[in-house]
Amino acid sequence: MATLRRFGRGLREATGDTGTLQFTRIALWGAIGLNALAGVATLWFLWVTYQPDSQISRILSSKLRASGATSHDSLRAMTAFQVGVVVIVAYVLYTLLAIVDSVDEGDPFVQSNAARLRRIAWTIMGLEIVRWVVAAILRGSAVALERPNLGLPFSTAEIVAVLMLFVLARVFEHGAQMRDDLAGTV
């Protein structure tokens, strides 16, 4: 029984405000690390595509020929685009980290957080639009982007996420105004 009580207390602490914040910070740093690794791997892969005599390049060429693609160019374009995605994802993750830090400091309802959320929303929306365009251009390539098979050219989850971010930005903006009013109330 005592063990169950300790477990319950631990669970409440882990999922309470402080626990969630710590978990989020750890998860964000983990994501930043993974994103950085992905960036390094992508840059290496991009370099490989410019080394025609390398083993990997020869394997890629045969696979591309088997899929009907005619050159490395589409692969390079995709890889270069992926480098850009890594940079943008890093920006989004660091911005999220700044928001989490402000919550930890006890002052999340500030105009800067509303602006950060709005920038993240625009960034993700821009990224999705560019991804659709690139996918359309590279249709038929062996390394074309895979989309969920919903019969739609886009993912509804991502659209909902973008809309939610815009709404959240407005909520934070309103919260910041209320906080400013409260700060000036005697």
């Binding site: 400013d180 009013d181 700060a183 000036g184 109330t185 005697v186």
Partner: protein, 73 residues
């Protein structure tokens, strides 16, 4: 701001310092300074009541509306 706080005048009339007033109404000196310098965005009725009680005055003695003063926002 068009609403001007005349706390200085009342404090002078009652020969009281801001610190004394803060102690007697139970407010921090910082908050009372915000009110005195016209930086407050809102005043609670409870605060107004406490100040009027200590200074033995009316709210109208403390607050005046001067539309010619530019609103600071």
């Amino acid at each position: 701001m068009p609403i001007v706080v005349k706390l200085d005048d009342m404090l002078y009339a009652r020969r009281m310092t801001l610190t004394e007033l803060a102690d007697r109404v139970g407010m921090t000196l910082a908050n009372l300074s915000i009110l005195k310098t016209g930086k407050a965005r809102a005043v609670r009725f409870s605060t107004l009541e406490a100040i009027c009680q200590v200074l033995r005055c009316q709210p109208g003695d403390l607050l005046q509306y001067e539309p010619s003063t530019r609103a600071r926002r």
